[in-house]
C-alpha cells in the first residue's frame, strides 16, 4: 500500500525523530510513504469558525493532491491529523464551506472530501495489523511498562475523528502490546496536557503536565509515549524533576523492529 504522506512543519524541524523513525519503520513494514509535493503547513489548529475559509485551504490542497494520486493521506503528527481530518469532514458535509473553498481553489474537479485520512497508528492497526507487527518485532520490549498518552487531538470530537473510543481508547495500548511491552492504563491519558498554553502560561501547563506524570507513575509506568510533538515538548520541558521519560511511539517502533542494529551493522 502506498500513502500520500503529510509530515507537517514540526516534523521537518523539532520533531525530526518522530518523522525519521516513522519513515524507516514504515519502509521496514513494507508500507510506502510518498511525501506530498509542496505541502504547506496545515495551520496547527483547526479553524472552528464556520466562516474561516483561508485557514482551511492548505489542508484541502494536500487532500486534493492525495485524491489525484488515488492514495489515502497519512499523517503522523496529531495536530496535522486533527486539522486535516476535520477539514476533510467539512468538505464532505458542509456545502457552504465546500462551495467557498472550491471557488477559491479553482481545481479541475471540485474537492468534496473524497480522500481517506489515516493516522500512522490507524495504518498500523488497520493495514499492517498489530498481529503482523508483533511478528515483525525483533527486539520485544519485554517487561517495560509504558503509558500511552493520547491527548485531545487524536480522539475528539469522536464523531468526526472516529479514531478510537474517546473515553477508553486502546489503539496505543495495542501498539505497546505488539512491540512486546506492557501497557499501563491511567486516567489522564485522554486529558489535555495544556500544550497550547505552553508558550504563554507555563504555570498552567505545568500543573496539567504534573497531573499526567503523576497519574502515569502511580499506575506503574516507566515511560510515556505520544504521537504529538507539542505534547512531547510540553510533557518533557514542563515536567518536574520526577517526571517520566517521554518518547515518540515511532522511536519505540523503530527500536522494536531492530532497525537500530541493522543500521549499525551496515
Amino acid at each position: 500500500m502506498t500513502y500520500s504522506y503529510f509530515p507537517g512543519c514540526t516534523l521537518k524541524n523539532k520533531a525530526k525523530d518522530l518523522d525519521r523513525y516513522g519513515r524507516l519503520s514504515a519502509a521496514a513494514l513494507g508500507v510506502e510513504l510518498e511525501e506530498i509535493e509542496e505541502w504547506q503547513c496545515c495551520g496547527a489548529v483547526y479553524p472552528q469558525a464556520s466562516d474561516e475559509i483561508a485557514t482551511r485551504l492548505s489542508s484541502v490542497r494536500a487532500l486534493n493532491a492525495a485524491k489525484e494520486k488515488g492514495q489515502p493521506l497519512l499523517t503522523l503528527c496529531s495536530a496535522c491529523h486533527h486539522v486535516i481530518k476535520r477539514v476533510n469532514h467539512d468538505l464532505a458535509t458542509n456545502a457552504d464551506i465546500r462551495t467557498k473553498v472550491n471557488n477559491y481553489l479553482e481545481l479541475d474537479t471540485p474537492y468534496q472530501g473524497e480522500t481517506k485520512v489515516l493516522h500512522y497508528l490507524e495504518m498500523l492497526r488497520d493495514e499492517v495489523g498489530f498481529d503482523t507487527l508483533k511478528k515483525a518485532v525483533k527486539n520485544p520490549m519485554k517487561g517495560t511498562k509504558i503509558a500511552a498518552y493520547y491527548g485531545c487531538l487524536l480522539l475528539r470530537p469522536s464523531g468526526v475523528m472516529s479514531f478510537d473510543d474517546p473515553e477508553n481508547p486502546s489503539i496505543i495500548e495495542d501498539f505497546i502490546r505488539a512491540i512486546g511491552a506492557e501497557p499501563v492504563i491511567y486516567s489522564q491519558r485522554n486529558e489535555c496536557c495544556g500544550g497550547y498554553m505552553a508558550m504563554e502560561d507555563k504555570g498552567a501547563a505545568q500543573d496539567r503536565v504534573e497531573k499526567i506524570h503523576d497519574s502515569a507513575r502511580k499506575a506503574g509506568a516507566e515511560l510515556i509515549i505520544t504521537a504529538c510533538p507539542l505534547c512531547m515538548y510540553n510533557l518533557d520541558v514542563n515536567g518536574k524533576e520526577n517526571k517520566l521519560p517521554v518518547k515518540y511511539f515511532t522511536e519505540l517502533l523503530y527500536r522494536a523492529l531492530g532497525l537500530e542494529e541493522a543500521k549499525d551493522n551496515v
Binding site: G8, C9, T10, N13, K14, A15, C41, G43, A44, V45, Y46, P47, Q48, A49, S50, D51, E52, T55, C77, A79, G151, C152, L155, R156, P157, S158, P166, E191, C192, G194, G195, Y196, M197, A198, M199, E200, D201, A204, R208, P229, L230, M232, Y233, D236, V237
Partner: protein, 128 residues
C-alpha cells in the same frame, strides 16, 4: 470597541445554538482550564445567549481555552461550547489592533525545544 459585536455575529461565526443548553454544567465539570478562567464554559453559553458579549470579549478565558474539545465531546446536548469560545476570541482579534499576540511577542517566549506547531498555532489562534 467601535462596533458592538452582537450575539447574532457570534452565532454566525460559530454556528452554535446556545438555546439547546439545559444548563447541566457538564462542560465546566470537564474543563481542564477551569481554574484559569474567569468565565467558565457554561457561562459562555449562557452569556452569549443573553447578549453579554462585551464581558466575554474582555475576559481572559478566551486565551485560556485549550481547544481540547472535552466540553464538546461530553456535552449531552451537543451545544459545542468550545466553538462559542473560539468565536468570541475571533470577534476580538478580528478587530483592528486587537491581536492577542504577534510575531514580535514570540522571541521572548521561545525556548530551545519549542515546536513550530506551538508558534504557528499561537499565531492562528491569537492574531488576525
Amino acid at each position: 470597541m467601535s462596533d458592538k459585536i452582537t450575539k447574532e455575529e457570534i452565532l454566525r461565526i460559530c454556528n452554535v445554538q446556545p438555546k439547546k443548553c439545559m444548563k447541566c454544567g457538564k462542560c465546566s465539570g470537564t474543563c481542564p482550564a477551569y481554574d484559569e478562567m474567569d468565565y467558565h464554559p457554561h457561562q459562555f453559553v449562557y452569556m452569549v445567549e443573553h447578549g453579554q458579549i462585551e464581558k466575554l470579549m474582555a475576559s481572559q478565558s478566551i486565551y485560556k481555552c485549550l481547544s481540547c474539545f472535552a466540553c464538546l465531546e461530553r456535552c449531552p446536548r451537543n451545544v459545542e461550547p468550545a466553538k462559542l469560545i473560539e468565536a468570541v476570541r475571533l470577534a476580538v482579534i478580528r478587530q483592528q489592533g486587537k491581536n492577542h499576540m504577534t510575531e514580535n511577542d514570540v522571541p521572548a517566549l521561545l525556548d530551545e525545544e519549542l515546536p513550530q506547531q506551538a508558534i504557528v498555532s499561537s499565531m492562528r489562534k491569537y492574531k488576525k
